[in-house]
């Protein structure tokens, strides 16, 4: 690893007692299964999440693999229509509720938030552990449902199909999602309370790292949107069990009401997925261009703005569902509004890169990939928010490509960036840099090849959720599947070398990137109580200019 500058730490007024002296850290402080399953240490809980979330990612990815393989031929020769329905439902449910929503908050957020605000733990450590158990209960239940026969409703559970017509295990699936929902509510609660109450001395709101701002914004959504999802899924369950329900047109009920309540959660949930990713990008971009973020307050408030405005746009998923035209008008307009804070972020990251001393380490490669892919995803989102165009591409592969650009091109890239960035801190080991860069490139190329053809397919009229298609679409589908196999290799690489690095990676220094955040001021891996000495903060989070200025001074002095 190239050392970037002399390890200078402008963040704390007192020199932190670096635990390079002590060999005891959170990983080896105690041993045994019990010390992990009953831990209240946020860092260990983050690792528990890391393992379970990765498992869910693999299972969801396998479902995606089968979907893509089936779409190699127009006649869908691999699986039956019924199995195909169950496959895309499993893929959607697992990836959305059990991977994308929890992944960054629960793994990286859980690990980094207390470290970054200079706290010893989250506000409610036992609640944090309880969230993991809730997550595991939900995940176990959903896996049981999927492997014992599956559900065929899609991840959206639209009524009346989910409440009346479907013959699969809808109710257990609903219960699993409600349980996992409470896991994310409690995580959000913990984050919000911790940020308010546990900041280190001197850590004012505007000295918070932008990752914390984005986690805070995410938590707002988790807290205020997830209960609505829980309630509406309970209503569907009631309707399904008793056969008398709220969304039943036979009684005068309105299935579109389900969609309103469902998207009140599920649209903001998109921002649960992307906001923490944006926070990671802010950390990585500043660190690897050695510059303060351009327009700190704009980026910080853009997160909050996205969280709030994200609640005002949900019915743009329902333009052709039969809602009032006036309502559609309002929601279309508001959907355009939410692009503003997202654009602010993209421009500010780009401006941060300008004249920075950019180095292309693995996290930076992922972050740059994120910016490009997220921009494409965001702009096609605006196309979808336009009422007229939406009618043309509604429920086609255009939509699929759009949200995969945000979710996979955006969020998974950002997660990869964050995972590599904090990997030395989490494990105390460096990942192999060369392999990391190769993986980043492969994932980028594979992703582009998978999803760009889908934009074209969708625009030409290939509908989503169909296991067969018109033969004219085959070439592009084959391209997409080819891209997906490259993507699969890209994801298999980090899985392999990150595990390899646990034993064979070189030992990480406390601050391998010469980054400025508080989390880099303690040992790698950190001790159980995070900091040997309570850190005190006296400047902003990205004072890289200050850092290099002082480094230059040091050199001058030596001369």
């Amino acid at each position: 690893m190239t050392t970037l500058t002399a390890p200078y730490r402008p963040q704390t007024s007192q020199e932190p007692a670096l635990a390079s002296s002590s060999e005891v850290n959170y990983l080896n402080a105690s041993y045994g299964v019990k010390s992990w399953l009953l831990t209240t240490d946020h860092k260990r809980i983050a690792l528990l999440y890391l393992m379970s979330v990765s498992l869910m990612f693999i299972i969801g990815g396998l479902a995606a693999t089968l979907i893509r393989l089936n779409l190699l031929t127009p006649s869908g020769s691999l699986v039956t229509a019924d199995t195909y329905n169950k496959l895309f439902s499993a893929h959607g449910i697992i990836m959305v509720f059990f991977f994308l929503v929890p992944v960054v908050p629960s793994v990286l957020g859980n690990f980094c938030l207390p470290l970054m605000i200079g706290a010893r733990d989250l506000a409610f450590p036992r609640l944090n552990l309880a969230s993991w158990y809730l997550y595991m209960t939900g995940a176990g239940l959903i896996l049981w449902v999927i492997f014992s026969g599956g559900v065929d409703t899609g991840w959206t559970f639209y009524t009346p199909f989910s409440s009346k017509a479907s013959h699969t295990d809808v109710v257990p699936a609903l219960i699993a999602i409600v349980i996992a929902g409470f896991s994310s509510i409690f995580t959000g609660l913990n984050f919000i309370v911790s940020v308010h109450r546990l900041r280190a001395p001197g850590m004012t709101w505007f000295r918070l790292p932008l990752f914390i701002w984005s986690l805070y914004a995410t938590s707002i959504i988790m807290l205020l949107a997830t209960p609505v999802l829980a309630a509406v899924l309970i209503l569907v369950g009631v309707e399904r069990i008793w056969g008398i329900g709220i969304f039943d047109p036979a009684l005068g009920g309105d299935p579109v009401l389900f969609q309103h309540l469902f998207w009140f959660y599920s649209h903001p949930a998109v921002y649960i997925m992307i906001l923490p990713g944006m926070g990671i990008i802010s950390e990585v971009i500043t660190c690897f261009s050695r510059k303060n973020i351009f327009g700190y307050k704009f980026v910080a408030f853009a997160s909050i703005c996205i969280a709030v405005v994200g609640f005002l746009v949900w019915a743009h998923h329902m333009f052709v569902a039969g809602q009032s035209a006036y309502s559609a008008l309002i929601f279309s307009l508001l959907s355009y509004l939410v692009a503003v804070p997202s654009a602010i972020k993209v421009f500010n990251w780009t401006a941060t890169l300008y004249k920075g001393s950019v180095t292309f380490h693995t996290p930076m490669l992922f972050a740059l990939g994120f910016i490009g892919l997220f921009t494409i995803g965001g702009l096609t989102g605006l196309m979808l928010a336009a009422l007229g165009l939406n009618v043309h591409v509604h429920d086609t592969y255009f939509v699929i490509a759009h949200f995969h650009f945000i979710m996979v091109g955006g969020m998974v890239m950002a997660y990869m960036a964050g995972l590599h960035y904090w990997w030395p801190k989490i494990t105390g080991r460096m990942y192999p840099e060369m392999w990391g860069r190769v993986a980043a490139l492969i994932i980028f190329v594979g992703f582009i090849l998978t999803f760009i053809p889908q934009f074209v397919l969708g625009y030409q009229g290939m509908v989503r959720r169909s296991h067969i298609y018109d033969p004219q679409f085959q070439v592009l589908n084959v391209l997409s599947t080819a891209g997906a196999s490259i993507l699969a290799v890209g994801y298999a690489l980090p899985l392999t070398y990150l595990i390899w690095s646990l034993w064979r990676g070189s030992k990480a220094e406390p601050n391998p990137w010469s980054a400025t955040g508080l989390e880099w001021q303690t040992a790698s891996p950190p001790p159980t109580h995070n900091f040997a000495v309570q850190p005190v903060v006296d400047c902003g989070p990205y004072e890289y200019s200050l850092q290099s200025a002082i480094a230059t001074e040091d050199i001058d002095e030596q001369h």
């Binding site: 005002l312 009032s324 006036y326 309502s327």
Partner: protein, 101 residues
């Protein structure tokens, strides 16, 4: 919380009984009014009284008057987001009849 602990020593909690009395009177009022013919106003009146009762419970029983300012944030966030949910959903239902395709 601990703001007026010194006062609390002498405090017999009599204000709780007073608030309780008002709550009971308001309950009798709201039930009684349901027997009067208010036409379409039943829900409005009922919700107004309920809001008054709710405010009493929040301000006194839940110590809204004395607890940290920060907790107002949580309260208002909950109500604000409920308003978003209700308001924007109703933009659909209240305007559906305006335009028949």
């Amino acid at each position: 919380m601990s703001i007026d602990k010194a006062l609390d020593r002498k405090d017999s909690g009599s204000r709780y009984y007073a608030v309780y009395g008002v709550l009971i009177i308001l309950t009798i009022a709201t039930v009684g009014l349901s027997f009067c013919d208010l036409h379409a106003w039943h829900t409005i009146v009922g919700l107004a009284i309920a809001t008054g009762k709710g405010a009493l419970v929040a301000l006194f029983f839940m110590h809204r008057l004395h607890s940290a300012r920060i907790t107002w944030l949580a309260l208002f966030a909950g109500l604000f987001w409920l308003a978003i949910l209700l308001g924007l959903t109703l933009t659909d239902y209240l305007t559906r009849a305006w335009l028949i395709y």
